[in-house]
């Protein structure tokens, strides 16, 4: 049982790296970026192709490049003023995810993409913990702490927080809101890319994993009933834990439905107050 719990937390550490960027983009721009899964998959595919030591660097760069494109599309909607609500942008990020999935399918085919995991394991009581899993958790925690520090103390982080509280207010005090939002997309794509690299090392991925990762990111971002990077981080750990326990106790295959079922349960139960949402109907 202890091993199942630890494996869940190790898996959740990867999911947290999908959930945190989705949550940061959500609070900063009022948009749910459905492409989060695509950033992760492109980084994972690139790292699988290039291997170590340069694969992770190129993978994160590729993810950030995709973040630039999404950010540009986001700015395009605002520049053209054709947007009446956030839904068209969300649909555009959905379309972008499909585009990236298809491009990956064309280039690498349907094969599972993975990078050799870090070998070794450590015994802890009756459980055996993989070094890869512990590396996932450690890197995830370090990134979360780094993000928290950036948001708390750096000028760019303070601007992002100001945009999250009120983009109109931020604009009135001279903060370049659009540039800050664009940078948010790029930074978050990079974090998601790191999650994709860990996923390539731990569980592998195919071109179609982008949609799965996005579903996981959203369920992790809402499962604790609050928006924000920290709830999203712990939400990721929770979803990983729930999936790990489900894999053990539910019939084969049903664990894949756990993130989706959590989304339905949490949102339909009204646990997340509607005021916490963006894009509410007028």
């Amino acid at each position: 049982m202890l091993e199942i719990l630890f494996n869940g937390i190790f898996l959740g550490a990867i999911y947290a790296l999908f959930a945190v960027p989705m949550s940061v983009i959500w609070v900063t721009t009022d948009v749910i970026d459905v492409s989060i899964g695509a950033y992760a998959v492109i980084a994972g595919v690139v790292v699988a192709a290039f291997g170590l030591p340069w694969g992770p660097v190129i993978g994160v760069a590729a993810a950030m490049l995709l973040g630039c494109i999404t950010g540009s599309v986001f700015l395009g909607f605002h520049a053209l003023r054709t947007m009446k609500d956030a839904m068209p942008i969300v649909l555009a990020t959905f379309a972008f995810m499909l585009l990236v999935e298809s491009a990956i399918l064309v280039v690498v085919g349907t094969d599972n993409q993975f990078l050799d995991r870090i070998g070794g394991s450590l015994p802890m009581g009756e459980a055996v913990l993989s070094v890869q899993g512990m590396f996932n958790l450690a890197l995830s925690v370090v990134l979360m702490l780094a993000l928290s520090a950036v948001l708390k103390w750096s000028p760019a982080g303070l601007r992002m927080r100001a945009c999250a509280i009120s983009s109109k207010g931020a604009a009135l005090v001279g903060i370049p809101v659009k540039r800050t939002q664009f940078l948010t997309f790029v930074l978050c794509a990079g974090i998601s890319g790191v999650g994709g690299i860990l996923a390539a090392m731990s569980i592998g991925m195919t071109y179609a994993s982008a949609f799965t990762f996005t579903t996981i990111a959203f369920s992790s971002a809402v499962v604790l009933g609050k928006r924000g990077p920290l709830p999203a981080f712990f939400g990721g750990l929770f979803v990983g834990l729930a999936e790990s326990v489900s894999q053990t106790y539910l019939p084969s295959g049903w664990a894949h439905a756990v993130p989706a079922a959590l989304i339905i349960l949490i949102l339909a139960s009204g646990r997340l107050p509607s005021a916490a949402f963006s894009g509410a109907r007028p």
């Binding site: 839904m87 585009l99 049903w254 339909a268 509607s274």
Partner: protein, 334 residues
């Protein structure tokens, strides 16, 4: 009669002309009927989503799931219990409609972004349930040997006629619904929930009914699909189908009755004509982004020259008769 003609005469006229052209072309090349039937099935799924999203302001990505419930219901009843297709039509429509009505209350109060993801999650759960349903759902393989529809059999032209007759009926029902009291209430809901409530509209019930109707029509599409192809599987009516249907609605035009049908035609023809199924997602993804950027109300409302003029003068493009402009009364269709 003249009132009815003025209401749906334009839409029905365009459809009948398109149908006649396809019928004539099919005489020279039989595959036209197969393509036309596919477009018709997609139109049956896209039309109700157009009603829900375009007129009700509610996005659903569960159309594929409801079509799957309809398709599997008729497949199980007709292959396992020997129920004739025309009888299994009733549960194939009713079961998704009832399921949708039951889940509508807790989910339809959600804002549209979250609602879209919840409906997507419903699709995921339904897909996993179908894949893991064992002998009951045929698991990953699905269900074979579904009987064909009476009077149609394996005739391609018969399927072509049947599906477009159903689409025509759905279009007439759509237009009539939107010009009815309930349709106007729906437009009021889309415009302002609170105002609609203040004016006596039962927002929760009306949205639940609409969600239920759209699920029922999707179930009808699934029923027709199952009896035309003789086969259903989790992959055939999946989340990808829901995404494709949303593509059709957005690209064609969500606020217009013909928009979803135009989207279905565009999607089917592009799928047939584009080389390599792997790379089609690049094309469709790019098209969807461009349409959302430059013509958010779909291709049917695209006026490139007016848009360019609007950009040059720094003001929005002028509203024309037929645009979804402010001059258009609530409940009116393009």
């Amino acid at each position: 009669m003249s009132g009815a003609m003025s209401k749906w005469g334009g839409s029905v006229g365009v459809l009948v002309v398109a149908f006649a052209v396809a019928t004539v072309l099919g005489q020279f090349r039989g595959s036209v009927y197969t393509t036309s039937t596919t477009i018709g099935i997609y139109a049956l799924l896209a039309l109700p989503l157009g009603l829900l999203y375009g007129q009700g302001g509610t996005v659903s990505l569960a159309q594929g799931a409801f079509a799957a419930i309809g398709g599997y219901t008729t497949a199980i009843l007709s292959t396992r219990y020997g129920l004739p297709p025309m009888l299994s039509l009733i549960p194939a429509v009713l079961i998704p409609a009832v399921v949708a009505f039951l889940i509508a209350k807790p989910i339809l109060r959600l804002p549209e972004l979250s609602l879209a993801l919840v409906t997507l999650s419903i699709g995921t759960v339904v897909e996993v349930a179908l894949q893991r349903g064992g002998d009951f759902t045929g698991s990953f393989i699905g269900i074979n040997g579904i009987p064909t529809l009476p009077f149609i059999g394996n005739s391609r032209i018969g399927s072509h006629f049947a599906v477009w007759a159903i689409v025509l009926l759905v279009v007439i029902a759509y237009v009539n619904f939107m010009s009815s009291l309930r349709g106007r209430a729906l437009n009021a809901i889309r415009t302002d929930h609170l105002l609609a409530q203040a004016m006596g509209v039962n927002v929760a019930f009306d949205l639940a009914m609409l969600f239920s109707i759209t699920a029922g029509v999707a179930g009808l599409g699934g029923w027709f699909y199952a009896h035309t192809l003789g086969y259903v599987a989790p992959d055939s009516l999946s989340i990808a189908l829901s995404a494709n249907v949303l593509f059709m609605v957005v690209v064609g035009g969500r606020k217009s009755v013909l928009g979803p049908i135009v989207g279905a035609i565009f999607f089917t023809l592009a799928s047939d004509l584009l080389p390599g199924t792997e790379s089609q997602g690049i094309f469709f993804g790019a098209v969807l982004i461009l349409v959302l950027l430059f013509s958010p109300d779909g291709l049917l409302t695209l006026h490139p020259l007016a848009w360019l003029r609007g950009r040059k003068s720094g003001s929005p493009p002028p509203a024309k008769a037929g645009d979804n402009g402010a001059a258009r009364p609530a409940g009116a269709l393009q």
